[in-house]
Symmetry: C2
């Protein structure tokens, strides 16, 4: 799928580029208490292992803010401090080496507070995410626009203008809602109104199951329109699950390459246990997850060989035995019990040739 990505300014969060043609990056947020260094580091490392690229942490009090220094010393990933209302916490996080802030400058009191923050971030070009949620729009804007994309975007741009007046442009923006239509409309409008990089997400997406579906639809639609520079899939689940969904999403959209296992739904024609077989293939190829390959697992002779033609490698199952394919050509026929082993061997041999 050929996506024409919208042109945005580029910011840097630590060593991760966002916007300006950089790959769409994946982020998540700790669910630990930030000040609990041991628990927080364990989760940061788990997220890193899972493929997360940026991590947000909630700074709810002075203890959390003080913890930034220790976390930054140990974290393999850039950290973003999520702060509401209290600019002192932001200053402590900046002093601790934080890589980015999520803070809305219109909500931190006096102009002096804003100037103090901007002076502190300017030195290291620390980016600030302006994050507007449908639940936290100013009542004045709600009266004027209703709960609409107009209100969301106007609210975000008011915060942006505060930074622009101080000539600070290291900005990314999010306009999240839990409602799909409002989320889509808000990001579309925002992307017309400015060229800052955008952080995509839904708020309150729901349980893992519903959240996966809702986020896939919303982020899928926006990314396919070229909108979005970094994403968070919010799930009420362990944060590692968010990463797996985000990766599969980017891969499906062709925004990230990797191993793609396609498999047919079973049907009355299938004479092999395809659910088990597909799972076995997925497990057996885990170590090749980064390979830009398509592997097809097919259950029958009707669509099997045809579909397998599109894949780099494939299995088409029959009664007790199956065919192996490479680039659409049959390369062997094996009993069911050794089919997966032979597939893995075949791919490893070929991929060895490539490297």
């Amino acid at each position: 799928m050929e996506i024409k990505r919208r042109t945005t300014r580029r910011i840097m969060i630590g060593n991760v580029a966002i916007g300006g043609g950089a790959p769409v990056s994946i982020q998540s947020m700790l669910v630990t208490r930030t000040a609990d260094i041991v628990a927080s580091m364990a989760q940061i490392n788990a997220l890193h292992q899972a493929g997360c690229e940026l991590i947000r942490i909630a700074i709810a009090d002075e203890q959390d803010a003080q913890a930034v220094e220790a976390l930054k010393r140990q974290s393999p990933l850039p950290l973003i401090a999520d702060i509401h209302f209290d600019h002192k916490l932001a200053l402590t996080a900046i002093a601790g080496g934080i890589d980015a802030l999520r803070i809305n400058p219109g909500n931190i009191g006096s102009e002096a507070n804003v100037r103090e923050i901007v002076a502190a971030v300017r030195e290291r070009m620390i980016p600030i995410r302006i994050g507007v949620n449908s639940g936290s729009i100013h009542p004045d804007l709600l009266r004027r626009y209703g709960l609409s994309a107009g209100a969301m975007v106007e609210s975000a741009l008011q915060h942006v203008h505060i930074l622009e007046r101080l000539s600070y442009h290291e900005i990314k923006i999010s306009v999240k809602a839990s409602h799909l239509g409002l989320t889509l409309d808000s990001y579309r409008l925002l992307s017309q109104r400015c060229d800052y990089p955008l952080h995509l997400g839904l708020t309150e997406a729901g349980t893992e199951f519903k959240g996966m579906i809702k986020s896939s639809i919303a982020l899928g639609i926006l990314l396919s329109e070229g909108i979005g520079d970094t994403i968070r899939v919010s799930l009420t689940a362990e944060p590692e699950r968010e990463i797996a969904v985000a990766q599969a999403l980017l891969q499906t959209l062709g925004l990230r390459r990797g191993l793609d296992i396609i498999s047919c739904p079973t049907c009355g024609r299938t004479r092999i246990n395809l659910i088990t077989l597909t799972q076995q293939v997925e497990d057996a190829l885990k170590h090749l997850a980064d390979m830009p390959l398509t592997v097809a697992v097919m259950g029958c002779a009707v669509n099997g060989p045809g579909e397998a033609r599109e894949a780099d490698y494939g299995i088409a199952g029959g009664e007790g035995e199956g065919l192996l394919f490479a680039k659409g050509r049959i390369v062997g026929k094996y009993p069911e019990q050794v089919l997966v082993r032979e597939l893995v061997k075949l791919i490893e041999e070929h991929s060895g040739d490539r490297s």
Copy 2:
């Protein structure tokens, strides 16, 4: 979300209308051997319970075709026979009372075979789905167009023209691929080229996890553009899972109303176990799944009350206790242990008022 659905002709599969403004219907396919009546009926009933509206069955041989009569006698849902190449099997299925066929008239041999089928379906206006898969395009078209939307659509329309020449228009069409971009482009092109109702799906969507994401993106994008009259979410998993995904997808897009539970991802500010709480709410409200309500489960005081304002009912959790909301107003404060019970009581009381 306001979707402007494309105008299509209407066909009837049993008592289920497809196209012409009818609600987008959900279908799945049996994975049992069709001729195994006991197993097939068990799966038909399970799918019916899960909310499936149309069921496709594979007719691979004469035994399967003969089984149609017994299945039709017992099935609470319309049945669609999936037949490749053999028009005699189609005739047997029609005699057995089948509600629709999936058969490509260009693949069943002579013109006489096609005439025989059309004569048989015409009497009861039995619809025929033309189903083109990226893996089964005629080599001539592949040579002319490459593997492209043009080849997919041309292939489908060649089959359609065979029926049109016999003045038969009870048709729906699918153009499925496993590749996202090809699927989107094919359906978009097809929807410009004809006004038959469209059956949406991907082939070989993958394991349950990847398939959910891929189908949500593909079907989400197309349905949001107004394309699609009936859907199948193909998963290499038990077919009931396909129904759950399809329902959540349609609900998210606003194409079907029902209970919507939104919940925030937990973060460092959360002082309650939100994953457990959300799951409890989901379980406790199962019996109200058809109610067109939004229920918010929030973990903190920052976004909680604001987001809960958009919902019909909500909980915003605090330390060991939480607030209950109705239409954005606080209606009570309860200890964590009784919060869900009180929420259910509140909703049941109010929903009783409505009915």
